[in-house]
Symmetry: C2
Subunit: 306 residues, 2 copies
């Protein structure tokens, strides 16, 4: 096998009270990538469709993560990468993460899987760092492992796979606006009240418990974030209205996906996820702002060979 | 049945990264209480052995929680309470909580169990408030439910029962010194760094996951607290030395029990719990400070009829 086509999924990070550590994987949205093993050494990006991204390996997220793995392993061959991008960069549902894991997952498969998923995450972090100026794994981990993942620590990198109920869906709205990474960082508080932090970890522990016990109602009572959301939601137009509409339509919880502008809602079952989508659509249609909406089952498989 | 004898267990609250929300129940230490249904209306404390505590119902923790339930239910009888106290007040292993739950648990049993355990916790919170000047449930919940409990919220009161591995033991050292509640509160920071709070909830989520998956090694990597411990440990003499000795002897984690001065270590199996006890003993014997040591299996049953 010298060529492999893969589906690299979109992901949601910063899941409410699990800010910076909990993420989950989507099914309905993702990039496709073709990885080809060639005789000529080096990493070459030969095709990019969907969005304009740099072809130069060292400037491309998929290229940088591929190089990190390539330089470590030093295989006696090279690789060509074709990228068919469906996830819009800057949308807040792990566009750069999908690119970063795609190349290393594909190369690893073509080489007989010398690396495990945690090791692949580590290579992909080099690609993420190019996109966001800091190494993080909260979109990479769910893209590679699927389902819900908890990044317990970055150094050493430790990723926990958290089980989730079968019937869990996400509805995502992506308002077509740009939020600058610098703005979404600058708006965060450096310090938080101890009492608020306690509420956050009480909710986060409860959320992990709810995922283990298929307890949707507890999930609903735990999907809160009083620390980040009040600040970052200011950067997303009509955030409050979307959230209220989604909750009224039956969402278990609604919050900012990644650092925005996308907004995710978790829902029990596809019927409610669809009603939430309809309700959100109604809010946004009146604003004049362009948007995409995705309804997706939680993808417990993660990245896969097509 | 007009008389019931119960065992009301000691408990550990503020379990490392689960500060203020996670507690667990002990087996080897606890109070005994005798609750007697009588014709004469009212709540009377007729005997207290072990430690000097007020007999006046309104000034006694067990009396106050009993009154809260009694006034709500208004039964056509009264109750006498005998308290055989083994848990030293102020030791940090839930002495007042044991008293507070004992009376309401016993009365409830004699009345045909009109209340569930969450409702009993609510009555007992009135007793705890007498002892600690604020209503909290982090010792009451594990005493009543057994095992590990997560107090998700106080208003409304929501208690989650978290499973735990079969072979989990705690070793507790109680240095015979007094820490004033005012001091242990005043020493806490009002604000914490966001980055430290994130580490705390990553660890707490991981700890909950480790309890669900019987993963002792993950438990070991999760039992940290960089927010409270650095401050409160200053009030406990030789805290660092005890912690280091316990970890060297194989403890999964060591931290302050409640607001101290007791120090708990969680251990896999009785052998390691005993080695930890020996190691801690060695540290404290040289200090001249009197101390007690308890080795206890995690008590998954909680309070019980004898």
């Amino acid at each position: 096998m010298n060529e492999i086509k893969i589906f690299s999924p979109a992901t949601v990070a910063n899941v409410a009270c699990g800010y910076d550590v909990l993420g989950f994987c989507l099914d309905a949205v993702g990039d496709e990538m073709l990885i080809r093993k060639v005789d000529k050494k080096g990493i070459l990006i030969t095709k990019i469709e969907g969005f304009e991204l740099p072809f130069k390996t060292e400037l491309n997220v998929a290229g940088v993560s591929a190089l990190a793995m390539y330089e470590k392993l030093q295989p006696d061959c090279g690789f060509e990468i074709e990228i068919y991008k469906n996830i819009k960069p800057g949308s807040g549902i792990g566009s750069s993460a999908a690119s970063a894991v795609g190349s290393v997952f594909g190369m690893n498969a073509l080489l007989g899987s010398p690396y495990n998923k945690t090791e692949l995450t580590q290579f992909a972090m080099k690609g993420e760092a190019l996109a966001s100026k800091c190494e993080h794994a909260d979109n990479l981990a769910p893209a590679l492992f699927g389902g819900f993942t908890l990044v317990k620590s970055l150094s050493p990198l430790e990723i926990l796979e958290i089980p989730s109920p079968d019937n869990l869906y996400a509805t995502i709205i992506h308002p077509q606006i740009e939020i600058k990474t610098a703005d979404s960082r600058a708006i965060l508080p450096k310090e938080v009240k101890l009492q608020e932090a306690i509420v956050q970890w009480a909710n986060f522990g409860s959320l992990i418990h709810s995922l283990h016990t298929n307890n949707y109602q507890l999930m609903k009572r735990s999907l809160h974030d009083a620390i980040i959301e009040p600040h970052r939601s200011k950067l997303i137009p009509f955030y409050k209205e979307v959230k209220q509409a989604a909750l009224n339509a039956g969402a278990l919880g609604t919050n900012i996906s990644g650092s925005g502008p996308s907004i995710f809602s978790l829902c029990k079952g596809i019927e409610i996820a669809t009603m939430v989508s309809d309700a959100i659509k109604k809010v946004y249609l009146s604003t004049g702002i362009k948007f995409d909406i995705h309804i997706s089952k939680i993808n417990i498989e993660g990245i896969k060979v097509l």
